[in-house]
Amino acid sequence: MTVHMPSETENVARVLAAATGRHFGAPAVIERLSRQSGGASRQTWSFDALIRGERHALILRRDPPTRGKTDRERAVAIDRATEFRVLQAAHAAGVKSPEPLFELTEEDALGEAYVMRRIGGIAIARKLLRDAPYETARGRIASQLGEILARIHATDPATLPALPRREAADHIAELRRSLDALGQPQPVFELALTWLDRRKPAPLDRPVLVHGDYRTGNYLVDEAGVTTILDWELAHLGDPVEDLGWLCVKSWRFGAIDKPAGGFGSREELWSAYERAGGGKVDPVRAHWWEVFGTAHWGIICLNQAWKHLSGSIRSMEHASIGRRAVETEVDLLQLLKQGA
C-alpha cells in the first residue's frame, strides 16, 4: 500500500479552500494556486477562488512557522497581522493598495498569513523601462508615485495598528549594529554613516505612516500606469521624506540613471506631484540626506542578504551573490558625498 503524502501546495490549497469558504460564507474551489517569487520565510502565493460561480483573483501572504528569519528581519519587519492592519488602514484611506480580505487562524496552521485581492500589472523594472506596451505608463509613473505617496503619508494615525517609530538616529544606530554583526570592516559605509549622523534631520513632532520600501519593484504597473503599491512589511512611523529619498536611490533606476525617481522621472516631477496631492513641501536638503541614507541602507542590506547565506539561516546562491552588489552603493556614496550638501 502506498501512502499519499500531501505536497506543500496541496496542503495550502486545502487550507485555503476551507478559509476562503468561511470568509465568503459559501463553498470555495481553489484553482491556479502557485507560489510566487519571494523568500522561504516570507511567501506570496497566487490563486483563484471560485465562489457561487464567481472567480475571485486572490493572493496569500504567508510566513511559515519561524524559519530562516534573521534577527535583523525580526527587528525591522512587522508581522503579518500588523501588515494586514496597515493595509486595511491604507486601503480605507484611498491608497492604491491591495484590498485585504481576511486573516488565517492558528487552527489553519499555515503560520502567520492573510488573503488579499490580486491586482493586475507587472513589477519587473526592465520590462517597464523598455517594453513598448508601457510607453504611456512610463511618462506617468514618477508623478503617480508622488501622488500615491502623499496619500500614504496622510493616512490617519488613529486608524493604524501600533507601529515602530523610526527616526534618522534610530536608522543610523540600526545600520551600525548591522555592520558590527557582519564583522568585516567597511570604511566607506562607516564614512557615510558618520556623514549622515552629523547632518541628521530633527525628529518630527508628528511622525507619519512611512511605507518603508517604496521603490521600483514594489509597485505594479499596467498600460495606464501604477495600479497598486505592494510590500508593506517595512511600514513604520517616521519622516515622510524617507520614502521620497528611498525611491530615488540609484539602485532602482536599472540603468536609467538620469531619471532619479525610480528610473521614470526627475526628483522635481516627483516632489511637485507629491506637493500637489497634499504632501508637505519637500526640502531638497532633507531629501538629499534621505537619498544618501537610502543608498547606505541598501548597501548594508546587500551585505546582510549575503550574511543570511553565510550564517546558514538560508542556503541560497542568490542571497550569497547579492553581497557583491554592496560595492555598487559604495561607488554611489562616494559620488553623493563629493556632491556635498
Binding site: 562607516e190 564614512l191 558618520t194 560595492v327
Partner: protein, 119 residues
C-alpha cells in the same frame, strides 16, 4: 607547482560561456525560475574570473595605500579595521583628501571586479 593551462581565469570563462550559451536557453524552456538562477550563477562566475585576474594586484595596492595613510604596517584586515574605527569615531572624514583618494582607488578596483558596467 604550477597547474597546466587553462589558468583559473580561462577555466572560469569556459564554464561561464558554456552555461550562458548552452545551458541557460535549455533551462529557460524547461523551468524559467531556474533559468533566472542560472543567470545569477553565470554572473557570479564572471565576477570570480575578474577577481582571479585582478584581485591580487588590487589587494596589494590597497595594502600599500593603507600602510601610507595610517603610517603603520599590519595585515590588510587589521588596517581596514583601524580605518573603519577612525571613520566611525569621526577622527577622519570626507574633508581628508588622502583618505578620499584612497577610498576612491579602492572602490574603483572593487567595482572593476564586481560590476565594471556600474555607472
Amino acid at each position: 607547482m604550477a597547474q597546466d593551462r587553462p589558468t583559473a581565469a580561462e577555466l572560469l570563462t569556459a564554464i561561464a560561456d558554456f552555461l550562458r550559451e548552452e545551458a541557460t536557453p535549455a533551462l529557460d524552456k524547461a523551468e524559467p525560475r531556474l533559468g533566472f538562477q542560472m543567470r545569477v550563477a553565470v554572473n557570479s562566475l564572471a565576477i570570480l574570473e575578474r577577481e582571479v585576474r585582478l584581485g591580487p594586484a588590487a589587494d596589494a595596492r590597497e595594502h600599500e595605500r593603507l600602510t601610507t595613510l595610517l603610517g603603520r604596517n599590519a595585515t590588510l584586515d587589521e588596517l581596514n579595521r583601524e580605518l573603519a574605527r577612525q571613520l566611525r569615531s569621526g577622527e577622519r572624514d570626507e574633508s581628508d583628501v588622502a583618505l578620499m583618494a584612497h577610498l576612491e582607488a579602492t572602490i574603483a578596483d572593487k567595482i572593476a571586479i564586481a560590476n565594471p558596467k556600474w555607472r
